[in-house]
């Protein structure tokens, strides 16, 4: 047998091994440059009352989730009920970051699809989104008691991510004192 004929086979083995490895990784979990760093400071008006502001202070003292959403985001609609389920099961408050949206649209969206958020901060210009490294909507950040970002999900949270990652991480952070 002439040896060159086995080269394509070897290439295939390499390729399949690589793709198989790729399957075990979920591309939607991007490591954030902000991982294990303090959450970037913000001071934004709330959706309910433009005169009241919510700041990074709100993240201190308890484990919390920050969910970036917008009324124009299709994936956010499906994610809304999942976010609600996470708060229900873990008792962790969710701060909504309403990203590049219009107030009336956002308010209407919450009445239609439910409001899982303890408070919604309005980032109409997207400036805070830039500080947080938001690439698209939705994104979800886990912030610990000290206000440090510990985990990030890009895209809508899947059931698997919720059960296998988010809820265990939240419970662990909660029990750590």
């Amino acid at each position: 047998m002439r040896w060159p004929v086995v080269i394509p086979g070897l290439v295939l083995i390499g390729l399949v091994a690589m793709l198989g490895y790729g399957l075990t990784r979920q591309p939607s979990i991007l490591p954030s440059a902000l991982l294990d760093r303090p959450a970037p400071a913000f001071n934004l008006p709330t959706l309910a009352n433009p005169d009241r502001h919510v700041t990074t202070q709100a993240l201190q003292g308890q484990v919390s989730l920050v969910n970036v959403w917008a009324s124009w985001c299709v994936a956010c609609r499906a994610e809304s009920s999942r976010v609600a389920e996470i708060t229900q099961r873990t008792g962790v408050p969710v701060i909504g970051l309403n990203y590049k949206d219009k107030r009336p649209d956002a308010t209407r969206w919450l009445t239609v699809f439910g409001n899982p958020f303890s408070v919604v901060a309005v980032d109409a210009s997207g400036r805070v989104g830039i500080d947080w490294g938001v690439a698209g909507v939705p994104e979800t950040f886990v912030v610990d008691r000290q206000g440090v970002i510990r985990y990030k999900v890009v895209g809508a949270i899947t059931e698997q991510q919720m059960n296998q990652r988010l809820i265990p991480i939240l419970n662990k952070l909660k029990s750590a004192s």
């Binding site: 047998m1 004929v5 086979g9 390729l15 690589m18 591309p27």
Partner: protein, 661 residues
């Protein structure tokens, strides 16, 4: 009831596919030719069953049967009927059904067109295609049944992804899949050649038209996709090096190489095992594309909703089909008789060998760029994505020499060409090409960019050299050229037109991103663009804000264009409809951004000179392929088949074989 029938038809199609594949293979192995006869009727049965399944799903969409989960997820009563039809293949399950239906259609075409083939060849080809079909049918039934029901049925569906609500979607996927799936025929012929151990000129003559047909579909599919992206995505771009675009481009590159190497194998009886390997690779890359789109290993605008179980299955299928073929290849390919004559550099086969090398290396470069994110992750280099800078940098030096070769295609003779023949025939096209390369941008676009001028000259070279050949062939005598020659010429002209388009649009294109209030205007590429205002319009399933822009050249009003932003009722998604002033020598492309305060809008205006030439080139190449496909030499066999009892005609058919290109 109808969806259950569809499901049942899928199960029956699987049974038929099993018969189509296992029986003939057993017959071949056990030396019982009678079993091989089953392949053809089984293929027909499989096609009918898949047709029933497909029709059942289309019907469910037509009558808005939202108890079918797939319909509820991808349709809506407000969706116009032609988009409901397009929605049949708008997501994973349905597009898989389309994939299999088209595979069955290709099998049927093989049955109809190959009655003149030796039975063991046609049965073996059908058996291999049947095996591929079995793999996909099991996949569909196990993980992606499009007929799954839900009760209670929702009153309204979730609507089709608004990005896909464009006439382009109705045609783009079926064309593209016809190309992908069509390579399964060449693949099946390659496997048959490995099994029977025969790669002779008869084999290549059977394989060539099938490869060409698949290539034509793929070319049209990719061109339509690019056209759709330009119109629908609102970025003014025509190609994004997105993983899924690359997935369709790789089989195209290898398929192009295959068409050319088949010509060499037919004419000179060399490169056999290389040709067989290319046929396997082209289909393997089609399968890889299927994997990339449906497994979620890469992030892409095209990716379907993903599920890891599906990824594992398709990867297994890919490994099984391609691994098995390559094992067979490693075992059998060394037995092919190979020509011992060395290949001269200055000969048509030498040129085609170079063409093959460039095309395959280009495909490899695209493959590496596409998969590099996975590799980098594995090597601990972090998560990253590979973008246009890589591809443009790598691709340009690979394609430029290729286009240079295209110009020499017609002049180069088989076996050996004297350099003096080349220079005496090609000096004129070369000089003209340089003149056009400099002149065309000078008179149309005005400014200068060196790379674009070089590209324009290169494209003109391909066109002019192709015409030189036609002029020389028709001078004085023989006005009637074989269609194959015309087809080749047209395809090469298409390459030239495409290269000119790409060069000029990337060299001289520009864009402005500005804030405009009604009444304001800007100047781009000699055009004055005035923003007249915005009006609201109600569509069937969306509300649109439609802008009006007036385009003037001097005092003359060239056109009014209407870019829009649509908000779809059911998904709340906002889509940008670009407004385009189309012209042979360039487009002015306006896309609406966001509404700002006091009536102002952010507006992006693009100047896209010669962008139309890109698609024109693609369609010309496809047309060339079609013409070559209609050449008498492929159809004479068919006529012979109709009169199988006339030995004289059969003999004539052999004796008068056209000289191959």
């Amino acid at each position: 009831m109808i969806p259950e029938l569809g499901h049942l038809a899928l199960v029956l199609a699987l049974m038929m596919a099993l018969v189509q594949s296992l029986w003939p293979l057993y017959g071949l192995a056990a030396g019982r030719p009678i079993y091989m006869r089953l392949a053809a009727p089984a293929a027909l049965g499989q096609f009918l069953m898949l047709g029933v399944a497909f029709a059942a799903l289309a019907w469910a969409f037509y009558v808005n049967d939202f108890s079918v989960v797939y319909v509820a997820d991808n349709s809506n009563t407000n969706l116009p009927w032609f988009y409901r039809l397009g929605a049949v293949w708008g997501a994973h399950e349905g597009s898989l059904l389309l994939w299999m239906t088209e595979l069955a259609a290709w099998s049927l075409a093989v049955v109809l067109a190959s009655r003149s083939l030796p039975r063991e060849v046609s049965s073996c080809v059908l058996a291999v295609m049947g095996l591929v079909s079995v793999g996909f049918l099991v996949f569909t039934l196990a993980t992606s049944n499009p007929f799954t029901r839900q009760f209670p049925a929702p009153g309204q569906g979730r609507d089709l992804n608004p990005l896909l609500q464009d006439p382009g979607l109705v045609f783009h996927p079926p064309m593209l899949y016809m190309g992908y799936v069509g390579f399964s025929v060449a693949f099946a012929f390659a496997i048959t050649a490995l099994i029977t151990g025969r790669v002779d000129s008869a084999w290549t003559r059977w394989t060539r038209p099938w490869t060409l047909a698949a290539w034509v579909f793929l070319t049209i599919g990719i061109t339509l996709g690019s056209w759709w992206a330009y119109n629908e995505l609102g970025w003014g771009g025509w190609w994004f090096w997105d993983p899924v675009e690359n997935a369709s481009f790789m089989p195209w590159l290898v398929g192009t190489a295959l068409i050319h190497s088949l010509a060499v194998t037919e004419k000179r009886g060399i490169f056999q095992s290389w040709t067989v390997l290319l046929a396997i690779t082209a289909f393997a890359l089609s399968l890889l594309g299927t994997f990339l789109v449906r497994s979620g290993v890469l992030i892409s605008v095209h990716a379907f909703a993903t599920d890891p179980a599906r990824g594992v299955y398709i990867l297994g299928l890919l490994a099984g089909v391609v691994g098995g073929s390559l094992l067979l290849y490693a075992w059998r390919a060394p037995r092919f008789a190979t020509g011992t004559e060395p290949v001269a550099v200055l000969s048509r086969e030498g040129l085609l060998l170079l063409n093959n090398i460039f095309l395959v290396v280009a495909a490899a470069a695209v493959l590496i760029g596409t998969l590099y994110p996975i590799l980098a992750d594995g090597l601990g280099l972090g998560r990253l994505s590979v973008g246009p800078p890589y591809f443009n940098k790598v691709f340009l030096p690979l394609t430029a020499p290729l286009v240079l070769l295209v110009g020499g295609a017609a002049t180069m003779a088989w076996k050996r060409t004297r350099p003096v023949v080349l220079t005496s025939r090609l000096w004129l096209p070369a000089i003209l090409a340089v003149l056009v390369g400099v002149g065309l941008p000078l008179f149309t676009v005005g400014t200068h960019a060196v790379v674009a001028v070089a590209g324009c000259a290169l494209g003109s070279w391909a066109i002019l050299a192709a015409f030189e050949d036609i002029v020389r062939r028709t001078r004085g005598r023989r006005l009637k050229l074989p269609r194959q020659i015309i087809g080749m010429t047209l395809a090469h002209v298409g390459v030239g037109v495409f290269v000119i388009g790409v060069s000029l649009v990337s060299g001289f294109g520009g864009e402005r991103d500005i804030r405009m209030r009604p009444g304001q205007s800007l100047t781009i590429a000699g055009h004055n663009v005035t923003f007249n205002g915005i009006t609201a319009q109600q569509g069937p399933n969306y509300v649109a804000q439609v802008g009006t822009f007036t385009l003037r050249q001097g005092d003359r009003v060239v056109s009014r264009i209407h870019p829009a932003k649509r908000r779809y009722d059911d998904s709340d998604a906002v889509m940008t409809e670009s407004g385009i002033d189309r012209d042979v020598f360039g487009d002015i492309y306006v896309s609406l951004g966001d509404s700002l305060e006091d009536g102002a809008w952010s507006v992006r205006v693009y100047n896209r000179p010669f962008v139309r030439w890109i698609w024109a080139g693609g369609f010309l190449a496809a047309l060339g392929g079609l013409l070559a496909l209609s050449d008498k030499r492929y159809w004479r066999r068919r006529r012979r088949r109709h009169e199988p009892h006339d030995p004289a005609a059969a003999a004539r058919g052999h004796a008068r074989r056209e000289p191959a290109v």
